[in-house]
Amino acid sequence: MQQLQNENQEAELITDDIAETVSVPIVKRFFLEVSSLTIFTLRFFKEVFKPPYEFNELMKQSFLNGYKSFPLISITAFIMGLVLTIQSRPSLAKFGAESWLPAMVAVSIVREIGPTITALIFAGKVGSGIGAELASMNVTEQIDAMQVSGTNPFKYLVVTRVLSATLMLPLLVVLADVVGMVGSFVGVNLRGNVSGSLFLSQVFQSLDFKDLFPAVVKTFFFGFAIGLIGSYKGYNSNKGTEGVGKAANSAVVFGSLMVFLIDMVAVQITSLFQN
C-alpha cells in the first residue's frame, strides 16, 4: 500500500509540476493525468477488499449522496417526463399515433434519458460535492490529521464515497424513471384522458428486460466514474483555496464527460448483444 501511495504521490507531484509548466505539450499532460488516475483507481481496488471496512461511513455517504439527492432528481425527472411527452405529442399526432405516446416516452426514459440526465445531475451535485469536500479537507490538513490519528484516509474518505456513488446512482435512476413516468402520465392527460391502468399497461407492453437491464447496469459504471473522478480531483487538489474551486469544477466537467463516454460504449455493447 505504501508503495502504491508513494507512486501515487510521485505521479501527483509530476502532474502538478508539469501542469504548471505551459511549455509541456498538452498530450503529455493528458497521459500523465491518465496515468495518475489509473494508479488512483488501482489503489481503490486494492483498498476496497481489505479490512477494516468503513461500513458506518459508507452508510452515512449513501444517505447523503442517495437520499439527499432524491428531491432534486425527482423534480428533474418529473419535468423531464412531462416535457418529453408534451414535445413528442405533435410529431406523433401527425401520423395519428398519439396512442403510442406512453410507450415511446417509457422507452426513451428507461433506455437513455433517465440514466443519462440523472447521472449528469448526480455529477453536478454529488461529484462536485465530493471534489470540493476532499479538496477543502486537503487544504486544511484534515486528511493529514486523519492519517496521524491512525486512520487510512484513502479507505475512509475515497473508498466509501466511490462505493456509495456506485450503489446509489442506479437506485436514483430507477426512482427517476418511475417519477419520469408520473410526469409523462400528467403530460398525456393535459390534452387527453388516459386512465392510470391504460397508461401503465401501454408502458409495460412496450418495455422489455432488454431495455431495463443494460440501462441499469451502465448506471453502476456512471456512479463509479463520478465518485472516482470527484474523489481523485479532491484528494489530489493543489494546496490552496483555488484548488478547491478547481477540484469541484473539474470533478463535474470530467465526471459528465465520462458519463457520455461510458454511455457511448454501453450502447455499442448493448446493440451487439441485441443484434
Binding site: T140, E141, D144, Q147, S149
Partner: protein, 259 residues
C-alpha cells in the same frame, strides 16, 4: 552555538540512550530540485521541550511531518523509540503513531463534526468500540485539560482561533501521546491567547511528561517553554542551545531571532 556544536550536543544526548525518544542522523529530503532538508542531526530526549526556530521555508514543518511519516525521508535515519520508521510496515507505523500527537498549524479540525465528535474520532479509530461512559469521561477530561468544557456540542466553525487551537490540542491529547509535535501553535493568535496556549503546552509537558518539538516564530512562547532551541537555516541545524545561549550569541543572524 554553531553547527559543530550541534553535533557535540547530539553526541552528548546520544549517550543518554535510554532517554532518547527521537533521533535523526544525516536526514535529507528534497521535493524535485528543492532540497528542503540537508543533513539534519537531531535528538529529542524524554520530557524535553525542543523549540525549532527559523525563517519560513527552511523545512521546519517538513521535519516534523517526517517524524509522523506524513513525508517520506530521502536519506539518513530517523528513529523513534529506537525504531527506524523507514523500515516499519504500515501496521507498525499506525501503532507508532498512537504515541505521537501532532497539533497542526490550522488545527485541522473536522468541519463536518461537532467538538465532541472531533474528540471521539481518534478514540474510535485507535481503541475500537469502547463503552459510552468511558468515551464520555475521556472526552470531558480532554476538554477540561484545555478549558473548553462548555463548547462540547459546538461545531468548529463556531469557535474562535484560540478555541480551535485548544480543541486541536485536546484531540491530540486524548490519546495520551508520549511525543507532541506542535506546528506553530501560537500563530495568528493575540498575545494573551498566545500566552495561554504556551502555558497549556507547559501544563501538558508536566501532566503527561511528554517530549515535544515546537515549531514557532513566537519568541515569548519560546522563552517560556523551551528547554533547548535549534535554529534552522537552509535545511540544516545552524545553531543549538538554551534561550540564554542563543539570545547572547556572537552570531548577529542568530541574535536577530531574539530581538
Amino acid at each position: 552555538m554553531t553547527a559543530s556544536a550541534t553535533s557535540i550536543t547530539a553526541e552528548h544526548n546520544k549517550k543518554q540512550n535510554a532517554l532518547v525518544v527521537v533521533e535523526m542522523e544525516h536526514l535529507k529530503k528534497s521535493f524535485g530540485n528543492n532540497h528542503v532538508l540537508q543533513d539534519i542531526n537531531l535528538v529529542l530526549t524524554k520530557g524535553e521541550n525542543l523549540v525549532i526556530l527559523g525563517k519560513s521555508g527552511t523545512g521546519k514543518s517538513v521535519l516534523i511531518k517526517c517524524i509522523v511519516g506524513l513525508v517520506d525521508v530521502d536519506e539518513g535515519t530517523l528513529c523513534i523509540f529506537g525504531q527506524n520508521i523507514s523500515e516499519l510496515k504500515d501496521r507498525e507505523l499506525i501503532v507508532l503513531r498512537k504515541k505521537i500527537g501532532f497539533l497542526f498549524q490550522s488545527g485541522a479540525l473536522y468541519d463536518s463534526m461537532t467538538v465532541r465528535e472531533n474528540l471521539e474520532f481518534p478514540l474510535r479509530r485507535q481503541l475500537g468500540s469502547i463503552p459510552k461512559e468511558k468515551m464520555n469521561s475521556l472526552v470531558e477530561e480532554a476538554l477540561q485539560d484545555v478549558g473548553l468544557g462548555e463548547a462540547i456540542d459546538m461545531t468548529p466553525s463556531e469557535l474562535s482561533g484560540g478555541m480551535r487551537k485548544r480543541l486541536g490540542l485536546a484531540r491530540t491529547l486524548i490519546l495520551k501521546p508520549e511525543i507532541m509535535l506542535y506546528d506553530e501553535p501560537t500563530t495568528g493568535l493575540d498575545p494573551i491567547t498566545s500566552r495561554e496556549i504556551s502555558h497549556l503546552i507547559l501544563e501538558v509537558q508536566k501532566k503527561y511528561n511528554t517530549s515535544s518539538i515546537i515549531i514557532t516564530h513566537d519568541i515569548e512562547c519560546t522563552k517560556l517553554i523551551a528547554n533547548r532551541i535549534i535554529v534552522m537555516k537552509d535545511g540544516t541545524c545552524a545553531a543549538e542551545g538554551s534561550y540564554a545561549d542563543l539570545a547572547n550569541s556572537t552570531d548577529a543572524w542568530i541574535r536577530s531571532f531574539f530581538e
